[in-house]
């Protein structure tokens, strides 16, 4: 017993090292988004203050560039509005409202990336809202503080997004493989779909998170094994995820109602 205690005292540095290393790897490898968010929530309070200080300085220096980008975004939005105004008269009851917010921190290096935005409960942002830009989708709100919110980036292996081919309305789920910040994979598209390179991918609108028919990206390559009934499609995103400034949270008034209906059918 004495020898054991002596040995422990002698190798205490190694033991402490291994213990703390496994602690940090455990924190890093937390697969459950819930546990991750518990820890991250404490961080967002300090972290977001500091980051918003930084971003208030840098955004001032980038005003000119930001203006150009906003003008371009406005133009794209206006084009879309004009195009869709005639087409979707039927869906008039589905009015989505966009809440603007500023990105103050954007991660894209790890396999589970998160974005912090300035804009929270005060602006009307709620958990599980979709975050978009004029060029595509960005992520889903995870939790909200008074003035800040944390967003699960689409560059996060936990997130699956319902998406469809623009031409044929075949649905699939969009996931990130973790390799390239500009590419995602559209899985489970049946082989009956007629896929071509360059086809546009839109949001599917099967959930209340993203409105239907928002452009996401285009098909850059696709393949399928002969034994499988599905295509694996590689999608190149329209939105450069490494360069985000102003984003919009999508507020959908009937979200709660639809969710409760879906829940009751599941039970």
């Amino acid at each position: 017993m004495q020898q054991l205690v002596n040995a422990i005292i002698q190798f205490r540095n190694g033991l402490v090292y291994l213990l703390l290393l496994s602690c940090s790897i455990y924190l890093l490898q937390q697969q459950s988004a819930y546990h991750r968010s518990l820890i991250a929530k404490s961080g967002i309070v300090i972290g977001s203050r500091l980051n918003s200080m930084v971003s208030s300085g840098t955004t001032y220096l980038q005003l000119r560039e930001l203006n150009d980008r906003l003008i371009k975004e406005n133009k794209i939005l206006l084009d879309q509005l004009l195009k869709t105004q005639n087409k979707f008269q039927v869906l008039d009851s589905l009015h989505f409202k966009a809440i603007p917010a500023q990105v103050i921190r954007n991660g894209f290096l790890n396999s589970y990336n998160y974005i912090t935005i300035r804009g929270g409960q005060k602006q009307g942002i709620l958990p599980e809202m979709g975050i978009v830009t004029a060029k595509g989708i960005v992520g889903v709100v995870q939790f909200v503080e008074k003035r800040y919110a944390q967003v699960i980036s689409i560059l996060n292996k936990d997130l699956q997004i319902n998406a469809k081919l623009k031409n044929s309305n075949h649905f699939g789920s969009l996931v990130w493989s973790g390799k390239d910040a500009s590419k995602m994979d559209l899985l489970d598209v049946p082989k009956t779909a007629n896929v071509k390179e360059g086809d546009t991918i839109h949001t599917g609108g099967m959930s209340v998170i993203f409105p239907p028919d928002l452009p996401i990206g285009y098909v850059s390559s696709f393949y399928s094994e002969s034994t499988s009934n599905f295509y694996d499609i590689e999608v190149t995103l329209f939105q450069d995820m490494t360069n985000l400034s102003t984003v919009y949270a999508i507020h959908y008034p009937q979200a709660e109602e639809i969710n409760s209906v879906q829940k009751s059918t599941n039970e």
Partner: protein, 167 residues
């Protein structure tokens, strides 16, 4: 608790803030950031109890992780750098050094740079290997490791050079 430990408590609290506010702005586009907070691990008294140093380094890394929302990544890297620091000190300064602290104004600059290089390499190796999303990116891990280390080292040596007072 002497005046020196108060100084290190101040460094513990201030360096990560400085890292986020100032040095993260020197981003070279692809997440290559000079990790200047390593100054804390470099100048932490080497005659202090190693076990306590490990715990301090872990919480220091965790504190930086909170500011960057990368849970555990900096903690693992800082911890490993702290764990291997005695080995690096003996290999750079020789065996007899063990009981003298590393001081900016007293340690020869070349030896200090070599010691910094080793510490940066250990830290960045762990940082990029653990932090990367998949092994398919091994080429980018190596690239980022090499350029990230050089970039951090450049900043660290420049800072040490600036704050070194000539006698």
């Amino acid at each position: 608790m002497n005046s020196k430990s108060y100084a290190f408590i101040a460094y513990f609290l201030l360096l990560p803030g400085l890292q986020v506010l100032v040095f993260n702005q020197f981003d070279l586009g692809t997440q290559l950031v000079p990790h200047v907070y390593l100054l804390f691990l470099i100048f932490y008294p080497s005659n202090a109890e190693q076990t306590i140093f490990l715990v301090v380094a872990f919480f220091f890394g965790l504190y930086i992780d909170i500011l960057h929302s990368t849970m555990g990544l900096h903690a693992a890297a800082c911890l490993t750098a702290a764990f291997l620091r005695p080995t690096i000190t003996t290999s750079v300064f020789g065996k007899n050094h063990g009981y003298v602290s590393i001081r900016l104004n007293q340690t020869p600059f070349v030896a200090l740079s070599a010691y910094t290089l080793n510490l940066v390499l250990v830290h960045h190796l762990i940082y990029y290997v653990i932090g990367v999303s998949s092994w398919a990116q091994w080429l980018s891990i190596i690239k980022q490791f090499i350029f990230g280390s050089l970039y951090s080292l450049l900043f660290l040596i420049a800072i040490m050079f600036l704050f070194r007072t000539k006698k």
